[in-house]
Amino acid sequence: MKSINDRSQDIGPFVSQTDDAIIICRCEEITKGEIRQAIHDGMFTVNEIRRYLRAGMGLCQGQTCGKLVKNLIARELNVIPDQLDPATSRSPMRPVEMKVLGNEEVAHV
């Protein structure tokens, strides 16, 4: 079993760091400290952090912070970042108004 799959493993206590207040997810304003605390709450994957804190769920859908979150998890769990999957990408590629997405009209040229 890869250690990361055992959610009861001892990752040590949460120790606050001087830069815990910096913002990692700018869209949803989630700090480094909040993300580190979530890892200590048991959120060991990028998807779990996203669902627990909304980091990466805002307008840019994690395009900016995804990698940072992954690195924070890797450091806290003491694994290499490549062992972690990125968050699932979802359509649409960029925000689209309902009236555009729902438009049935086809403009024939």
Partner: protein, 379 residues
């Protein structure tokens, strides 16, 4: 392949969705040792993180309604405090909307049934509807109104139960797909995964529609099929309304979350024919179709931007009602699956009552109408 034999537990739960996590939490609170095995890398990757967040009683089958009503009365109001995570429970009522005489008839039928079970739900007209939710279009002429229904955040509720259960000592193991159950001397004993065999006195199968394959290894069948459903979410909007919404036509359902985004679910009518059957991937037509449905009811949302769409599976039962039951043929084995698209709202009540069933042999709510052996061929 030599398998590592894992240490013994009181209970093994197969499936780390909200049902497995909630049951694990209530069992741990009773002092039992519990291991949860989750097939995927993420806790809560199934329907539990993909649903519309409805916590509703109205519209539910009379066999399921007692659980829904009990959970809303006894567990949901204190859940954020109990788990130490904001589950965003909002109890501001449910409007099930209609536009035609046919809709009115459907809604009246559902309302009459719920009233006979003691639920406060009633039919209201267009003016009464717009007094509750002024954003609804004039096309909406009737609705059933259940003031005690509501919604919550499925992501934080599912992971909140996980976090709290983990704190109480429940062991969670990811990437541990169970592919076989084994009896020893006529009772359940072993849960087999690719890496290890786990042993326990009692086993709960709570693996969504995959429960069917797992249960088949001890000769038990639950008649259910996977059914794909799609959802979408908008960017954060200013607060507009707090009710949960649905329609008689089932063209969409949803709510505005505490964050400000609108979470809506809907269907295109082609779900059962989807070419991607096998993985829950949103189709090219699903979100567009749902948007058209929403705009007809809420013209004001036409400019709201969709930031994300996704799909998930329902574990749709033959009679669209869950199976929550001990299994007589396999002493020590329990089932909680086939939620048919409404397992989130009742999840706390299910977890609580299944924990009682496993630990004490009986539960607060009588679950006998939800037994696994209720399915009979036609006469």
């Amino acid at each position: 392949m030599s398998k590592h034999m894992s240490k013994y537990n009181d209970v093994i739960i197969i499936g780390g969705g909200i049902i497995g996590n909630a049951t694990a939490y209530y069992l741990a609170k009773k002092g039992l040792s519990v291991t949860v095995l989750e097939a995927s890398k993420d806790i809560g990757i199934g329907g539990s993180s993909r649903n519309g967040g409805g916590v509703r009683q109205s519209g539910r089958d009379t066999r399921e309604l007692p659980l829904a009503m009990w959970g809303i009365k006894n567990l949901w109001p204190g859940l954020s405090e109990e788990l130490g995570v904001d589950v965003e429970y909002t109890q501001k009522g449910n409007l099930r909307l209609g536009k035609t005489a046919v809709h009115q008839k459907i809604l009246q039928g559902l309302t009459d049934k719920a009233v006979s079970c003691g639920l406060d739900v009633r039919m209201i007209n267009g003016d009464e509807i717009r007094a509750i939710n002024p954003y609804l279009s004039e096309e909406v002429t009737c609705a059933s109104w259940c003031p005690t229904d509501g919604h919550a955040n499925p992501l934080t509720a599912t992971l909140g139960y996980y976090k709290k259960a983990r704190e109480l000592g429940v062991r969670f193991i990811t990437e541990a797909p169970c592919f076989e159950l084994r009896k020893i001397k006529g009772v359940i004993r072993q849960v087999v995964t690719p890496d290890a065999i786990y042993e326990a006195d009692k086993v709960l199968v709570a693996a969504g529609f995959d429960s069917r394959k797992i249960l088949a290894t001890v000769g038990i069948d639950v008649p259910m099929m996977p059914l794909k459903m799609e959802c979408l979410v908008t960017e954060a909007e200013p607060p507009m309304f707090l009710q949960m919404l649905g329609t008689a036509d089932a063209d969409f359902y949803g709510h505005q979350s505490k964050h400000g985004s609108f979470v809506f679910g809907g269907s295109s009518g082609f779900e059962h024919l989807n070419k991607d059957n096998g993985s829950p991937i949103s189709s090219s037509i699903g979100a567009s179709c749902t948007c058209r449905g929403i705009i007809k009811y809420f013209p004001a949302l036409a400019d709201a931007k969709i930031v994300r769409a996704w799909a998930g599976w329902l574990d749709d039962c033959a009679d669209h009602v869950p199976v929550i039951s001990p299994v007589e043929e396999v002493p020590g084995l329990y089932i909680a699956c086939a939620f048919s698209g409404h397992g989130f709202g009742i999840a706390p009540a299910v977890g609580y009552n299944v924990a009682e069933m496993i630990a004490d042999g009986h539960s607060t709510i009588d679950l006998s109408a939800l037994r696994y052996d209720r399915f009979k061929p036609k006469q």
